[in-house]
C-alpha cells in the first residue's frame, strides 16, 4: 500500500540544518495495521505526514497505492488524498463548526448528499462515543473528546488508508480500547490499511501487525507482531482501582 523510498527531510533553522528524517525506507502492507514508534522528536510525525505528502520530502519517493505522490499533479493528488484519512497530533479541528459540522466536512468535500451525510456523521460519532456532543463547538469539549472528533472526522469518508498521529494520546484506557476496537473493526471488515504513530506500547501490542522504530530521524528497527485474537471485552474491563491495586483495594483517602 505504502512504500517510502529513501525519503529525507531537513529543516533550516537559525542554527543550521536539522535533519528530521534521514533516508528512511519503509513498507506498509495493504490491509495491515502498522505502528510507528520511537522517542519524542524522532521524526515520527514528519514521517507520517510524508505519507500523504503534507510534508514534501526533500528527496525520495512516496508510493501510495502504486502512485508516487511526490510527482502527482495537484488534481490527482487531491483525489488520492480523498481516500486517505488523517488524524493530527494536535487535532486541527475547525473551531467555528460544531462537532457534527467537523465530521461532516470530508463528506461535503466528497459531494455527498445532505441526508446521507447526516446519517454517516451520526454513525461516526457513535463509533467514538460522542453522539450527544454533536451540536457542541470544539471549544466546549475536553481534550479527549476533541481527539475523538478528529478520529470521527478521519473515518467519515471511509478512507482506504488511515494515518493516525497518536490517536489515543488523550484517551483513558477504556476509551482507548473502544477506539482500538473501531480501528481493528474497519481494518478487518473493510480492509482499511492503518498507520499508527504512538508511544503507547499497549496500543501497539493490541492492534499492530507490524512495527517500525524511528530514532533520531532514522529507521532503527522493524518487525512483525503476532495478531491478537480480536475484540477486547470492554464490559469486563477492571475498574480503575483494580487496574492500580489489583483485586484487593487499599486504604481509602
Amino acid at each position: 500500500m505504502i512504500s517510502l523510498q529513501e525519503v529525507s527531510k531537513s529543516y533550516k533553522s537559525g542554527e543550521g540544518i536539522f535533519e528530521a528524517v534521514q533516508s528512511v525506507s519503509l513498507t506498509v502492507r495493504e490491509g495491515t495495521i502498522h505502528g510507528i514508534i520511537g522517542p519524542s522528536g524522532a521524526g515520527k510525525s514528519t514521517l507520517l505526514r510524508m505519507m500523504n505528502v503534507l510534508e514534501l520530502p526533500d528527496q525520495g519517493k512516496v508510493m501510495v497505492g502504486g502512485k508516487d505522490l511526490t510527482t502527482l499533479p495537484e488534481k490527482e493528488l487531491r483525489l488520492a488524498r480523498r481516500s486517505i484519512g488523517m488524524i493530527f497530533q494536535q487535532f486541527h479541528l475547525l473551531n467555528n463548526r460544531t462537532v457534527s459540522g467537523n465530521v461532516s466536512v470530508p463528506l461535503e468535500l466528497a459531494g455527498i448528499g445532505k441526508k446521507q451525510r447526516k446519517e454517516r456523521v451520526q454513525e461516526c460519532l457513535k463509533f467514538v462515543g460522542l453522539p450527544d456532543k454533536a451540536r457542541q463547538y470544539p471549544a466546549m469539549l475536553s481534550g479527549g473528546q476533541k481527539q475523538r472528533v478528529a478520529i470521527a472526522r478521519a473515518l467519515a469518508h471511509r478512507p482506504s488508508l488511515l494515518l493516525c498521529d497518536e490517536p489515543t494520546s488523550s484517551l483513558d484506557p477504556g476509551t482507548t480500547a473502544e477506539i482500538l476496537d473501531v480501528l481493528r473493526h474497519i481494518n478487518k471488515t473493510l480492509g482499511v490499511t492503518i498507520v499508527i504513530v504512538t508511544h503507547e506500547m499497549d496500543v501497539v501490542k493490541e492492534v499492530c501487525h507490524a512495527v517500525s522504530v524511528v530514532e533520531q530521524g532514522r529507521l532503527t528497527d522493524g518487525f512483525e507482531l503476532e495478531v491478537r485474537p480480536g475484540k477486547s471485552d470492554i464490559t469486563q474491563r477492571p475498574s480503575y482501582r483494580e487496574q492500580l491495586l489489583g483485586k484487593a483495594g487499599m486504604r481509602d483517602v
Binding site: 488524498r81 486517505i84 488523517m86 467555528n96 468535500l109
Partner: protein, 226 residues
C-alpha cells in the same frame, strides 16, 4: 454648547432634504458594501493566497494585486474620483449624481476591504489549512469551507470597520453631486453657517456609525466559537 430645541427645529425644517441625504448615503454605502463583499473579499483572498509562503504563492500575481490595492489607496480620493470619471461614465452613463459617486467609492471600498480580508486570513492557524489539504480539498474548498469559516469573526469585524470608512469617504462625494448626509452637513451646516443643523446632522451620522459598529461587533462575537 448647542441649543437642542433649535437643533430639533432645524432638523424638522430640513427633514425632507435630510431624508433624501440619508437615502443617498444608504445608496452609496450600500453599493460600496456590496462591492466590498462581492469583489473585495475575493481580492483579499487572492492577496492572501498569492503571498509568500501561502497556498498559491505567486510573486507576479502578488505584485499585481498588491499594486492595484496600493495604487487605489495612494490616490488622493478627490483625484481618484476625477481620474475615474471616464470609467464611471462608461459604467453608469453619467459622472454626476449619487449612483455615479458610488463607482469610485466602490473601487476604494474594494481596496480597503481586501486588505482587511487579507489580514484576517493571515490569522487563521496553519493547522486548519493542513487539515483541509489532507482531506483533498480544492483551493476553492479550502477557502470557502475552511479559511472563511475560521476567519469569519475577523471578516465581519473588518467589514464593520471598512463600512465606517466607506461612510467617512462618502462624505466627500459631494464633489460629483453624490450628496449624502456628510455632504449635507458640510453644505448646509458648515458653508451656510447653520451650526445647529450641522450638529443635528452629525448626531445622525454618529447614530448611524454606532449602529453599524454595534451590529458588527455583535455578529462577530456571535460567530466566534473559538
Amino acid at each position: 454648547m448647542f441649543d437642542f430645541s433649535l437643533m430639533l427645529e432645524k432638523f424638522m425644517e430640513y427633514r425632507t432634504q435630510i431624508a433624501e441625504a440619508v437615502g443617498e448615503t444608504f445608496l452609496m454605502v450600500g453599493i460600496s458594501v456590496l462591492a466590498a463583499i462581492l469583489l473585495g473579499l475575493p481580492l483579499g483572498t487572492m492577496l492572501f493566497l498569492t503571498a509568500k509562503g501561502q497556498l498559491r504563492e505567486n510573486v507576479t500575481w502578488s505584485v499585481i494585486l498588491n499594486g492595484f490595492v496600493n495604487v487605489v489607496r495612494s490616490f488622493p480620493f478627490l483625484l481618484l474620483v476625477v481620474f475615474m470619471i471616464p470609467v464611471t461614465r462608461f459604467l453608469v452613463g453619467t459622472a454626476i449624481g449619487t449612483v455615479a459617486a458610488s463607482v469610485p467609492l466602490g473601487i476604494v471600498s474594494i481596496a480597503i476591504y481586501a486588505r482587511q480580508v487579507e489580514q484576517s486570513l493571515f490569522e487563521v492557524p496553519r493547522g486548519v489549512v493542513e487539515a483541509a489539504q489532507s482531506m483533498g480539498a480544492s483551493k476553492l474548498g479550502i477557502v470557502c469551507k475552511f479559511l472563511f469559516v475560521e476567519a469569519r469573526s475577523g471578516l465581519v469585524l473588518g467589514l464593520t470597520t471598512s463600512t465606517i470608512s466607506f461612510i467617512s469617504y462618502s462624505t466627500v462625494m459631494g464633489v460629483v453631486g453624490g450628496g449624502g448626509v456628510g455632504d449635507f452637513a458640510i453644505r448646509y451646516g458648515y458653508q451656510r453657517f447653520e451650526t445647529e443643523l450641522m450638529a443635528a446632522v452629525i448626531i445622525l451620522m454618529i447614530i448611524l456609525v454606532q449602529l453599524v459598529q454595534f451590529a458588527g461587533s455583535m455578529i462577530s462575537r456571535w460567530l466566534d466559537k473559538r
